[in-house]
Symmetry: C2
Subunit: 328 residues, 2 copies
C-alpha cells in the first residue's frame, strides 16, 4: 500500500520504518532530519530488535503525489499545516490515519478532507527520538485503530493487517472516542503532572504558579510514581478524566486506573512527549491534550479541579519557560 | 444593571469604566492592576474627554456573586479559565457578552453556560493600556452587539441601550457571524501582517521564516500602509477573508475592503493588540484570530495562500520570539 508519513518525529518514524521493512512503498515527508536519514536510514533501537529502514524521502508532498494511506504524526501544534502538507497526497481513495495525541485532530482533518477519509490510530508506545533519524523504542507498540465517522470498515481491517504484518499489535475499535479518552486517562496525569512537577508539589497544591523554576526539574513517569504525594495526584486526575468520559457515555471500568498505574510502574523511566517538548523549549500540545478535554469536562458539569489546575499551570509555565520571567 | 467585567486590560477597562460613569453597579475582577486602580481609579485618556471611574474591585468572582451582565474581555489564550472566573457570576438570568476578538469564544462560553446566555460584542475601537489602570483611547468605540443563538431579543436592545447611555455608538446585529468575519477582514491583515513585518517583506514573499529577527521591527497600521508593497498584501489578505465569508453565505460587499483601508489611514499610528502582545513576549491569540479562520477557509475550499502564510509565520515567529532561536 503506497503510504506517506507526514511528521517524522519519534512516532512517525517508528511506525513508518516498521511498515517500510515489510516491503510496503513508504514515503517520508521529511525536512529537519533529511540529511541523517538519507545517509543512514531510519534507525530504531529496541530490545525487541534494532531496525534500519530506508523509506523514500521527500521534501514536499508534491514529490510523493497521491497515496493510499497517509499517516499523520505531526505535533498537534502544527495542525494549521494540514492542507499544505496533506492535500497533494490525497487521491480518490486515500485513507488518512492520525497518530497524534489528544482531541480534535480527526475533526480538523475531516473539515479539510471529508470525515469519511479519516481514522484515528492511538499509539500505546514509549519512544524517544535520541538523535536525527534515530528512535529509541523503550516499550510497547500497540495501536488502537478506529474510524472517525463510522463503525469499522473493510479498509480499517486492511490497515490493521498492514501493521500486524510489521509485527505490531493492532486492535480495531468500534468506538474511537472512548479509546481517545482511555489514552487521556494516562496522558493527562503523566504528561501534564510531569511538567507541573518542575513548579514543585507545594506550589501545585496551593495553586500558585511560581515565577521562576527550572525546566530540568520536570519529572519522568517513574519520578512521579516514586513520590506518594504525586502518585496520589496522578490517581485523582485519572479519576477525574474517567468521570468525564463516563458522563459522556463512554464506559471506562473503574479498574482501568489501577491497571494504568501498574503498567506505568513496569515501564520504568519514561520521559513523555510533553516533558521532552518542555525541556526543549518547544510549545506544548496544550490544546489537544489538556484544554479541549478541560472544556468538555467543564461543559459536562463534572468537577475536575485537578485538571483545571494542571491547565492553569501548563499555560502559565509554557509562557514563563519561554520568557524566562513572569507572564506580563 | 449589576455588571461584572472579567479581564481588565484595555478593552474591559474602557467599556467597564464608561458603564460605571453612568451610575451602573460595575464590578471589575482584577488582579495585576489592582493596586493602581484601587488608588487612582480607571483612567481613560481620550480626545473625546478623559474619564476617571471608580468601579468596585474584586480579586475573586465569589466576592462579586451573581450579576445580570458579564463582560468578558480576557485574552482568548485564557479561555480555559472561563469556568473558574465566570461561573460564580452566573445567576438564573445572567447574560454573558464576550468582547474578545476572533472566532470560537461564544462557542466556548456556550459549552459551559448554555448558548442562550451568550452574546458577542465586537469592539471597533483603538485602545492601548499605557500603564496599570490607564487606557489611551485613540479612536472609535463602536460596538456591534448580537445574540449567539438567536435573533436579537429584548435584552439585546436593553444591553445596547446601556452602552448608548454611556455615550457609545452601539449597533445591534441579527448576524453575529457576519459581524465577526467583517472584523476579521481588518484584524487578520493588520494584526497579522504587523507582526509578520518583523520578518521582513522579502522573507514573507519567499515564504521563508528567518531564524532571527527583531521584535521591535513589527509594524503599526500606518507603517503597513506607508509601504505600497505591504498595502498590496493587506488588500490581498482582505480579499481572501471576504471570499471565505462569502463562501460561507455571509454577504460582505466588495467595497468593504476599500472602506477599511480608508478608515485605517485616518486612524494614524495604531499598534494592534497582536503587535503589543508580540513585543511584550506574550503568547499571541493565534487560535481565535488566525488558525480557526484558516481552518474554515481551507474547509470551504477557497484558496487563501496569504492567510496560510501569515499563520505559518506567526506560529513560528511566536516560538522563535520566545526561544530566541529557531524552532527545534
Amino acid at each position: 500500500m503506497k503510504t506517506a508519513v507526514v511528521g517524522c518525529g519519534a512516532v512517525g518514524s517508528y511506525y513508518g520504518a516498521k511498515l517500510c521493512k515489510t516491503g510496503e512503498e513508504v514515503h517520508f515527508l521529511i525536512r529537519s532530519d533529511w540529511e541523517a536519514v538519507a545517509q543512514n536510514g531510519v534507525r530504531i533501537i529496541s530490545d525487541e530488535g534494532n531496525v534500519i529502514a530506508h523509506p523514500n524521502l521527500a521534501l514536499s508532498p508534491e514529490e510523493i503525489g497521491p497515496v493510499e494511506l497517509v499517516l499523520v504524526a505531526l505535533k498537534s501544534t502544527a495542525n494549521h499545516r494540514f492542507k499544505e502538507l496533506i492535500e497533494p497526497l490525497v487521491g480518490p481513495d486515500t485513507a488518512i490515519v492520525t497518530l497524534q495525541n489528544g482531541l480534535g485532530n480527526e475533526a480538523d482533518l475531516a473539515a479539510l478532507f471529508g470525515a469519511e477519509r479519516v481514522l484515528g490510530g492511538l499509539c500505546f508506545v514509549c519512544l524517544n527520538r535520541i538523535e536525527p533519524g534515530v528512535i529509541h523504542h523503550l516499550a510497547y507498540g500497540k495501536m488502537m485503530l478506529g474510524e472517525f465517522a463510522s463503525l469499522p470498515l473493510g479498509r480499517t481491517h486492511e490497515i490493521a493487517r498492514l501493521f500486524r504484518n510489521a509485527g505490531l499489535s493492532v486492535q480495531v475499535t468500534d468506538n474511537l472516542e472512548r479509546a481517545r479518552w482511555e489514552k487521556l486517562v494516562w496522558n493527562i496525569p503523566f504528561n501534564g503532572l510531569g511538567v507541573v512537577a518542575a513548579a514543585g508539589y507545594e506550589a501545585f497544591i496551593n495553586g500558585e504558579v511560581p515565577e521562576h523554576f527550572n525546566l530540568w526539574d520536570a519529572f519522568a513517569t517513574d519520578q512521579l510514581l516514586a513520590d506518594p504525594r504525586w502518585e496520589a495526584v496522578v490517581r485523582e486526575v485519572m479519576a477525574e478524566v474517567i468521570a468525564v468520559a463516563r458522563d459522556n457515555g463512554l464506559g471506562i471500568s473503574s479498574t482501568f486506573a489501577d491497571k494504568q498505574i501498574t503498567l506505568t510502574q513496569q515501564m520504568g523511566h519514561y520521559r513523555t512527549s510533553t516533558l521532552v517538548d518542555f525541556e526543549a523549549g518547544r510549545p506544548l500540545e496544550l490544546d489537544a491534550l489538556f484544554l479541549k478535554p478541560l472544556l468538555i469536562a467543564q461543559a459536562s458539569g463534572v468537577e475536575t479541579p485537578r485538571l483545571a489546575s494542571i491547565c492553569n499551570f501548563l499555560v502559565q509555565m509554557n509562557s514563563i519557560a519561554h520568557l524566562g520571567g513572569p507572564v506580563a
